[in-house]
């Protein structure tokens, strides 16, 4: 029987509640955002005791559906000041789903200085004082926690950056190889740190897989769904071969690869950091070019990157990280970026926010553009150890821009703009401006239609059709984020009709219900509206749904492109 777990960190107690009827059809982002909107005062301090941190597996997590193992986390974000949902792979989501935990709500905060861990099993929830692993990085932590239990338990943790409540702090989740995946954006690690929780471990021993109500229909739909993932050129070929970093050369060619803190759209050394170069390097060094972030992943866009001696450096080496330190900070050595990625996973900071921040820091003169070794040193010695400079850098791009008087600061709602220039790829610009999450490419991935010709084509340099595109993608994404599915299923979903219909068939067979495509669209709309209202109530008005001024003043090579949407045009996004 599904249940809600509530953990009160003020009282150090836990309780189990039945699932309210209005939450029964929700999962993942729909559930975290609904709970946050209902239970968190929008004007509260995000690091205070009134904020709540909610974890939820998706509607299909724990079943035999491919790519359904994502974990959502939600709270009020200390970075954006609005609502936040992040999701990642790893093993925890599936374990929570098998334990029948529809959501885990962490509320309150302890009065004293003590730190805690939480252990969840089939029969108990244990809150224990934790001291041994304080100050430790996530890699060490995961190994220690799993060794304590003698089992590959699920682990949700924060590194030192989360303990210090920096705004770039992320939450980590152990993957099937006991390595790190990240609930990256919006400083949710600081929220977990504010609640004095170093880690949550989950043991699903004794729980069977989640079985659908109608096994025959589920299997039929799951078979169709899996085939669409294999058949689509992006999910079936491009991502498995080169990972997300296939995009470096593509965006460079499109003139939308933000370079040198968003002052150009092309990077001369793009080939040195490209997916093709990365793939060749991984193969030559005995790494793993295809790898899944969670068991049951069919797309396998992750990879294991080794150093020159064949020793593990990082996994899940993503395009946005490589772009951010590569083109945006002009670092040409892939090995330096890989080491930075390892350190960020370990100390627990968002690799997008941190990369955008370093671009601003380089412009501020804190370190030179291209200084890979300087980045590694500052990550380890300043941010990781919380020196005064490290605290500023760990506050993210907007914080550093304010401290150093930089005017070219690529953020929306204080959150760093990722890897696609909004002047040269205008659909993603609309997503950045309007997303309830702050600048977040995954909220409505217009690159698919602007650049990859998935779901048709909308000219990236023209304003025409971009607002409709971003709106439709954000609605669809909000629904997908609620299923527990990896967002990359959107590629086949946009091109192959059977993908979406079989996804809905799986949900129907899982719960014995009769959703239609319209119901799923309505769910996506409802999630966005709930999040938007929370943001309005938190003080994020329509004036926050804008890109920074410099995008409208500075043209970007090679297309001489500029951001030219009016506020009135952008506001039509919410006409639904």
């Amino acid at each position: 029987m599904d249940k809600i777990i509530r953990i009160n960190m003020t009282e150090l107690t836990s309780s189990i509640e039945p699932v309210p009827e209005e939450w029964a059809g929700l999962g993942g982002r729909a559930l975290t955002s609904t709970i946050v909107a209902k239970e968190v005062p929008p004007t509260c301090h995000a690091l205070g005791s009134s904020n709540k941190l909610v974890f939820a597996p998706g509607l299909l997590t724990g079943t035999a559906a491919a790519n359904s193992g994502r974990l959502s986390a939600g709270a009020k974000s200390p970075l954006t000041g609005g609502i936040k949902e992040c999701n990642a792979g790893g093993t925890a989501a599936r374990m929570l789903a098998k334990l029948g935990i529809k959501a885990m709500i962490v509320e309150g905060a302890p009065d004293g200085d003590k730190w805690y861990s939480i252990h969840v099993t089939k029969s108990a929830i244990t809150i224990q004082e934790e001291s041994e692993l304080l100050g430790k990085g996530n890699y060490c932590l995961v190994n220690n926690v799993q060794a304590r239990h003698g089992l590959p338990v699920g682990v949700i943790s924060i590194g030192p950056v989360g303990e210090m409540k920096m705004l770039s702090a992320n939450i980590s989740v152990a993957d099937p190889d006991s390595r790190i995946r990240s609930l990256g954006r919006g400083g949710l690690g600081a929220v977990m740190g504010a609640k004095k929780i170093k880690f949550i471990s989950i043991d699903d021993t004794g729980t069977p897989p989640v079985m659908p109500k109608d096994t025959v229909k589920f299997k039929e739909a799951a078979r169709t769904f899996a085939k669409t993932l294999l058949d689509h050129p992006v999910s079936g070929q491009g991502l498995p071969t080169y990972g997300t970093n296939v995009l470096v050369n593509i965006l460079n060619e499109a003139g939308g690869l933000p370079t040198r803190n968003f002052t150009s759209g092309q990077f001369a050394a793009h080939d040195k950091i490209s997916g093709e170069t990365m793939h060749a390097t991984i193969v030559a060094r005995g790494g793993t070019p295809t790898h899944g972030c969670h068991a049951g992943c069919q797309i396998q866009c992750s990879q294991v990157y080794n150093d020159k001696d064949g020793k593990y450096v990082t996994s899940g080496f993503e395009y946005e990280t490589i772009w951010g330190f590569g083109a945006n900070c002009c670092i040409e050595e892939l090995d330096d970026i890989a080491e930075a990625d390892h350190i960020m996973d370990d100390i627990g900071c968002d690799s997008i926010e941190t990369a955008v921040m370093f671009g601003v820091a380089m412009e501020a003169g804190i370190l030179p553009f291209g200084d890979g070794k300087g980045v590694i040193r500052m990550l380890r010695e300043d941010i990781g150890k919380g020196t005064p400079l490290g605290r500023i850098l760990g506050g993210g791009a907007a914080e550093v821009g304010r401290m150093y008087g930089v005017t070219r600061v690529p953020v929306v709602k204080n959150q760093g703009i990722p890897a696609y220039d909004p002047r040269a790829v205008k659909g993603i610009g609309v997503t950045y401006a309007m997303a309830t999450m702050g600048a977040d490419h995954t909220s409505g991935y217009a690159i698919a239609t602007n650049i990859l010709n998935v779901g048709g084509h909308v000219d990236p340099l023209s304003k025409a059709g971009q607002i409709d595109l971003a709106r439709n993608l954000q609605i669809a994404t909000a629904a997908i984020d609620s299923t527990g599915m990896c967002l990359f299923i959107a590629f086949p979903a946009l091109d192959i009709p059977e993908c979406l219909s079989s996804l809905i068939d799986m949900i129907n067979a899982r719960f014995g219900i009769h959703l239609t495509g319209d119901d799923v669209t309505a769910l996506g709309k409802s999630v966005l509206k709930i999040e938007h209202q929370f943001n309005l109530d938190a003080g994020l008005s329509k004036e926050h749904d804008r890109l920074p001024e410099f995008f409208s003043k500075e043209r970007i090579a090679p297309h001489n492109a500029i951001w030219d949407f009016t506020p009135e045009e952008l506001d039509t996004f919410w006409n639904f």
Binding site: A64, A66, G69, R223, A226, G296, Q298
Partner: protein
């Protein structure tokens, strides 16, 4: 009799995945209690040295119960 003995000798307590049937959904990998299933070159395979046919854990092999395409069969 000798033939029977050979048959016994050759029997490995394991399931296997028929490549032509596997559609790589990964459902078997996620629930294998022995972590015997892995993703190899676009499909999933069972390591016969780790597979116990789920004896002691489930009533019947879980990979076969979950498989969407009847690809998991006795080796």
């Amino acid at each position: 009799m000798a033939q029977d003995a050979d048959t016994i000798m050759e029997y490995v307590m394991s399931y296997k995945i028929i490549p032509d049937l596997c559609n790589a959904c990964g459902s078997c990998e996620a629930e294998c209690p022995n972590r015997a299933i892995s993703h190899v070159e676009k499909l999933f395979t069972i390591d016969p040295n780790k597979c116990t046919e789920c004896q002691g854990t489930y009533d019947s092999p879980m990979c076969a119960q979950l498989c969407n395409s009847d690809a998991c069969v006795p080796a």
